[in-house]
Symmetry: C2
Subunit: 225 residues, 2 copies
């Protein structure tokens, strides 16, 4: 039975639970909170649920396990949320606002640099594993939930459009820009999905080459200048 193995130790204090889950204390909630930050805010719940979503997917995200992870009981959960569906809504919204684009835009620079930044996102990100799990969880969830499917498709579309725009700014014609944008997106997404990409060696070997195939102009007809 390869599925569950926890849920034996229940009944524990908040501090114990936090200690064993390896999670940092909420730390915001009340801005003046001194040490323990004894009360949880809605945002603490959403953040913890977000982590669980990445680990186990939406289907195995239960209210009671979430509460146990936070060291409280579900009595508290239903004070902050109407429903489990209410929590899931919040998760969808949070994921939508986790914008990669704004991060890239904030870094600024020429379109070429932005593309390079996009290409390196997974490589740079220390916790690529979690990012990939999230993307995976969202898409797996989207297969059986229409609203999630809507959200995910919208985000994908936005990312693709943005990337295609960069390529157009660089000078590719619209079709070529769209194709390269998709290739780039597929490449970055796959980096987060395939576990053998965690061997740094493989990634180091192929990254520069992939980057060239995706982002550089054709070698024969070098455009202008």
């Amino acid at each position: 039975m390869p599925d569950r193995k926890e849920s034996e130790a229940d009944h524990q204090t908040r501090e114990e639970a936090r200690a064993q889950s390896g999670e940092a204390a909420p730390a915001l909630a009340l801005s003046g909170g001194g040490e323990g930050a004894s009360k949880l805010g809605r945002d603490d719940w959403v953040r913890a649920a977000y982590a669980m979503l990445a680990e186990g997917g939406a289907a195995s995200l239960s209210v009671e396990r979430l509460a146990a992870r936070l060291g409280v009981t579900k009595g508290s959960f239903y004070w902050h949320f109407k429903d489990r569906a209410d929590l899931l809504d919040a998760l969808r919204r949070r994921w939508t606002q986790q914008l990669v684009i704004t991060r890239v835009e904030a870094a600024g620079g020429a379109p070429e640099e932005k593309v390079a930044h996009l290409l390196d996102i997974v490589v740079r990100s220390t916790r690529q594993r979690r990012g990939g799990s999230l993307e995976l969880a969202m898409r797996s969830w989207a297969r059986r939930d229409a609203e999630t499917a809507r959200v995910v498709e919208a985000v994908d579309q936005e990312r693709l459009d943005y990337t295609a725009g960069l390529f157009r700014q660089i000078g590719f014609d619209p079709e070529e820009a769209e194709a390269r944008a998709f290739l780039l997106y597929a490449y970055v997404f796959s980096q987060g999905v395939f576990t053998f990409m965690e061997e740094k060696a493989l990634l180091a070997r192929i990254h520069a080459l992939c980057r060239r195939r995706i982002a550089e102009p054709e070698d024969g007809a070098r455009a202008a200048e």
Copy 2:
């Protein structure tokens, strides 16, 4: 509550269940079966479960819903399988044996043609949606199950190695072959994952271009001939 909505109508005959689930009757089981094929074999269960895995993921694959889908009760299930874990094992094995590589090899031809075949797999496949869902479900499942992670990684590695081998046969040096193999895999995988790829128009627009970026030699230095 966007999750469940079925499981109200239970208690029905086998034929009713099959009719309303829109599924074809098992149709093998007993090779001499005339009409209804009244008895189910272990393989029928695995096949039905395989379909449910694609639709809902491993977490939401329950024995009782599976039985209901087949028009029987779980009393029957536990005759064919020791466990739910037993069924999941069978699913993992089935997925492992669903070899794309052998299909491509069977078609034969020069390495270039095989690469082309790989590139067109999703485009050709009429039920790309289901294939993508399966790949997605397996990987989402693998994030929380070690054995599945092992299986998936082995399959990915095999596919990557095979594709890299093709590129080496074409004449690329090993590093370039590996990089292009990954790009190809990422491209094909992503086609099955992103829902906006279901618009045939977009795919038609970018496919040729992507194919060139992935499979064709650099335009500047055209190799030999």
